[in-house]
Structure formats: structure tokens, C-alpha cells
Amino acid sequence: MADEKPKEKPREMKAQVTVPYEMAMGRNWHRFFENLKEERIMGTKCGKCSRVFIPPRSFCPRCFEDNEEWVEIGQEGTIETWCYSNLMFYGQTLKPPFIAVQVHLDGTDVGLQHRIAGFDLSDFEKVRELVKSGGRVRVVWNKEKKGNIFDIDYFELIPE
């Protein structure tokens, strides 16, 4: 038998793995999402370094102290960086093309990840004309609120 060759080429075994999790939001994020439902964006502030966080951290990862102060954050901000994605992968939440953005909301010290939308995204060259790092954006609320990050539907560009 030693000289017998396998009859077929090596195969692959295909499978889909599903694993369900239910994860706690914790007090801070729960409060954040509850506020989104009322169209308010709340962040937390570090008592030591004074940085304002969004998502609202319960602690400052650098100072390692509790963030006890809540502050309401502006609904406009500046584009720190952005990315036009035309890449499709399995199980993606947003269907491409979409524009992922890091927004520096007024009154915060960190960037928030979200998306820019509200206009035709099919032509990249046009998108490139419109979206610039340093440009201004504002929140567009979702009419239907579910207490998650999509209560902010998207950020729209504020014309210069």
C-alpha cells in the first residue's frame, strides 16, 4: 500500500461557524446610547488630564482614574481622516461603497469613528472633490432610534 497515491487532490472542508454572544454595555455606554435616543451626544472627561472622551470611557486609559464628569458634546466636528471603502467582505455591517470617517467632534479630545453619507458615493473622483481632511461635518440623526451607534445615521458635509 505504501506506493498507492491518494485518488484525489487534497481537499478542503467548508464550514460556517456561528457563535452568539451577548455583551454588557456597562453603565457609561448604556447612558451614552440612551442619550443618543434623545439626540444628545454625551462624553466623559478625565479629572486629571481633562481630555474629553467619546465613546465615553468610565476611566482614562492614561491617567487610570475614574472619569466622573459628563459633558455634552457638539454635533459638529472636523474630519481628522477618512477612507473610501469599496472592499466587500463576509459579514460586513455597511455595504460598500461607504466612507468611514474619524470625526473630531467639537469639545472632545479624541476622534470618533462613523461614516459620511448623504450624497452619491458611486463616483470616487467626485467623493474626493468633496471630502477633505480638515473639512467640517455635522450629525444627521436617524429617525428611528434603537439605542445604538446608528442612532447617528451619518455625518453630512457642511459646505465651506
Binding site: V19, Y21, A24, G26, F59, P61, R62, F64
Partner: protein, 378 residues
């Protein structure tokens, strides 16, 4: 050689928590640093342990674990198992490169699906997984062999659950605590015959954190250092069929730890053991393999009553893993419990006798594929 001390520690309770993983991690890590009077950025190195058994639905768990463990811009990494993290942390100190290492182990059992679902992912995709092998079925094979080969009875195995769930009544951190009888255990639902529900560990929350320090640095943080005198790990074959399930690698892991700690007669020189027994009978089998009693006499050991909390050789006065099973953290919980006993500060579950040397054990994989042993001394 340098010495390594456990200086301060903290553990969370096993009951379900509404805290998110990040805040939970912060709370416990912060507690340890505050106790030690150490600032986050003064820590030499941070070692995170979080499970790779599809931990909370997040890949690269270290990414989300990083902030809460205080690791921002600090030297560090993440290990797969809390005992691995502790041992690696000790090595970092022994190397002379670091004086302090904060070890934080993290899991929120309540957020995950069943233990059996997750441990099933240890199995290879072609052979053991399609047959439904997981930690429980592997343990059931092992238990039956144990009973068959040595005549250990189901009652003797059940007694471990009676003892440990009872001990847990005195441990404020334990998850499952119950006064039960042998009959209660034997009459509980059959999970995977011969294993009964009360003989199988629950899935628990568990964030635990320990601050290790070098011999010279330790006194800055505590007046009661607990020294890590020895440690050892060992790995068995993957395929259950390639192993003797009753004669695995625990003996080898223990020998390594004993040699390092200079222990020749474990039963005499060790005062107390915290053993990782996700399945009741395993406490008996592991006691044999650790050299606490001859092979096949684990049943007699439990019958003798010696391993009860207030007797000569307490095993799992905390209630063990049967009472509290935060998968990846369970080894570190054993270490913390052993350290508490050595310090004489275990509160209501403090044992009667003076504990000078204690053993902590951790295991993961099917039927004890991988074992870790740590020897602590006051």
C-alpha cells in the same frame, strides 16, 4: 537567582456583572495598583491573560483588554491562559529586565455561549469536532476510565462537589455555593454520563489581577510577600486516543515545579492545594498526579476527609473551579486563593492550620491536555 513575589492581588466575584469587559478589567487592575500604591505608568510590564476560546466574540482579545489593564504605552503582551501569564511574568522578573509586572486575567463567562460550545473549538475540524468532542465529553471518558481502572466510585467523585460547593459558602467571590449531599449530586441531571450537572463547573465572570515584584522591590508594596518558589507546565498529546487519560502530563508539570521549589515529599511539604477541577472527579485524579496520594487512591483520599477545609490537608478551601469557573482566569484564581491562605487573610474560608507552602494548579484543554503548577511560600 532573583526572587519573585506576589505582592498584591484582587479578584472579582463570579456572578454575572453588568459591567462591560473594559470597565470590569479596569476596576480590578486599578484595585491592585491602588492597594500597592503604585501608579499605572510606574509598572514595568503588563501581562494580560484572556481566552482564545472565542473570547467574547472578539478576536485578538488583547486589543480590547489593553486599556483596562493599564497597559497604555507600557511593555507587555497577552498570554493564552492565566497560568501562562503568571509564569511568563515571573520569567520577565527573573530575567532581571523588570522589577514589577501586573498580571491581569479577564473573562466574562456570562457573555459567552455554553462552555461546551466554546471548548468544542479546541477540536480539530475534521475528526473530533464533527463527533462533538469538547471538554465535557473528554472528561466523561476520563471519569469512566478512572472508575473502571481503580474502582473509584461515583459517590467518591460526588463528594468532591459536596465539599467544594460547601466550601464556597464561605468564599464571597465564589459563583456557585450550595450545601448539597452526595445524593443531591448523584441525582442531579446527567450531563454526559457518568458526569452529573453538579459535578461540572459553571461558566463564571472572572477578572483577577496580581502584582508581581522582584525580591528587592516587593517590600515597597506589601509587608507580606508570597514568594513564587517554583512553577512548571507540561503538554500532552492532542488526540485523546494517543494518551493515557489517567497518566497525563500533570506529574511532569508538578515535578518541574517541585524541583524548582526544592520539594521532595509534596504531601508533607505542602500545606494546602488549590486545584483546578472543572469536573469533580478530576480533583481526585489530580491529587494523585501531584503526589498527594498513591495512584488510584484519590477516592480514599476524599473518604478520609483529610482534604476538607479544617482538616490536615485542605484542598480547594475556596470552593475550587466547581464553584467558580472563569475559564481563562481559573488558574490565577487558584494562585490568589493560595496566596490568601498563606497570608492568613482568607476571611471566612481561612483554614485552621498555618499555611507556609501552598500549591496552585491550572489546566486547560481536553481531559487535562495542558497543566500548570505553581508553588507559593510565605
Amino acid at each position: 537567582m532573583r526572587k519573585v513575589a506576589i505582592t498584591r492581588f484582587a479578584q472579582s466575584a463570579g456572578v454575572e456583572s453588568g459591567d462591560n469587559l473594559m470597565d470590569f478589567t479596569y476596576r480590578i487592575s486599578k484595585e491592585v495598583l491602588d492597594k500597592a500604591g503604585l501608579k499605572r505608568n510606574e509598572v514595568g510590564c503588563v501581562m494580560i491573560a484572556s481566552s482564545d476560546i472565542f473570547h467574547s466574540g472578539l478576536s485578538c482579545a488583547n486589543a480590547v483588554d489593553w486599556d483596562g489593564s493599564g497597559a497604555f504605552m507600557i511593555e507587555g503582551t497577552r498570554a493564552e491562559d492565566s497560568m501562562f501569564a503568571l509564569i511568563y511574568a515571573a520569567m520577565r522578573i527573573l530575567s532581571g529586565h523588570f522589577d514589577t509586572v501586573l498580571v491581569t486575567s479577564i473573562i466574562k463567562g456570562s457573555e459567552n455561549p455554553d462552555n461546551d460550545t466554546l471548548t468544542g473549538f479546541f477540536a480539530d475540524p475534521f475528526y473530533m469536532r464533527p463527533l462533538g468532542i469538547n471538554e465535557t465529553t473528554a472528561a466523561a471518558f476520563q471519569m469512566r476510565e478512572y472508575m473502571q481502572r481503580f474502582g473509584v466510585s461515583e459517590e467518591q467523585c460526588a463528594k468532591v462537589a459536596v465539599k467544594n460547593l460547601g466550601n464556597a459558602l464561605f468564599n464571597p467571590y465564589a459563583h456557585m455555593k450550595k450545601r448539597v449531599t452526595v445524593d443531591d449530586v448523584l441525582n442531579s441531571e446527567t450531563v454526559s454520563d457518568p458526569l452529573k450537572a453538579l459535578e461540572c463547573a459553571p461558566k463564571s465572570e472572572g477578572v483577577a489581577s496580581v502584582l508581581l515584584a522582584s525580591g528587592d522591590a516587593a517590600e515597597r508594596f506589601t509587608d507580606k510577600p508570597v514568594w513564587i518558589k517554583g512553577f512548571g507546565t507540561s503538554m500532552d498529546h492532542f488526540n485523546l486516543g494517543d494518551r493515557d487519560l489517567l497518566n497525563g502530563q500533570l506529574t511532569v508539570a508538578a515535578e518541574r515545579a517541585y524541583r524548582m521549589a526544592g520539594i521532595r515529599q509534596p504531601r508533607k511539604e505542602i500545606d494546602l492545594a488549590e486545584i483546578c477541577e472543572p469536573y469533580a472527579f478530576q480533583e481526585l485524579l489530580w491529587c494523585e498526579k501531584l503526589g498527594f496520594c498513591p495512584d488510584g487512591e484519590g477516592g480514599k483520599l476524599i473518604d478520609s476527609g483529610e482534604t476538607q477545609m479544617y482538616r490536615a490537608f485542605p484542598v480547594n478551601p475556596s470552593g475550587g473551579v466547581l464553584a467558580m469557573n472563569p475559564y481563562v482566569s481559573r488558574g490565577l484564581y487558584r494562585v490568589i486563593e493560595a496566596a490568601m491562605q498563606i497570608r492568613g487573610r482568607a476571611g471566612e474560608h481561612q483554614v485552621d492550620k498555618k499555611v507556609r507552602t501552598a500549591l496552585a494548579h491550572g489546566t486547560h484543554g481536553f481531559a487535562g491536555q495542558c497543566h500548570s503548577v505553581v508553588i507559593l511560600e510565605g
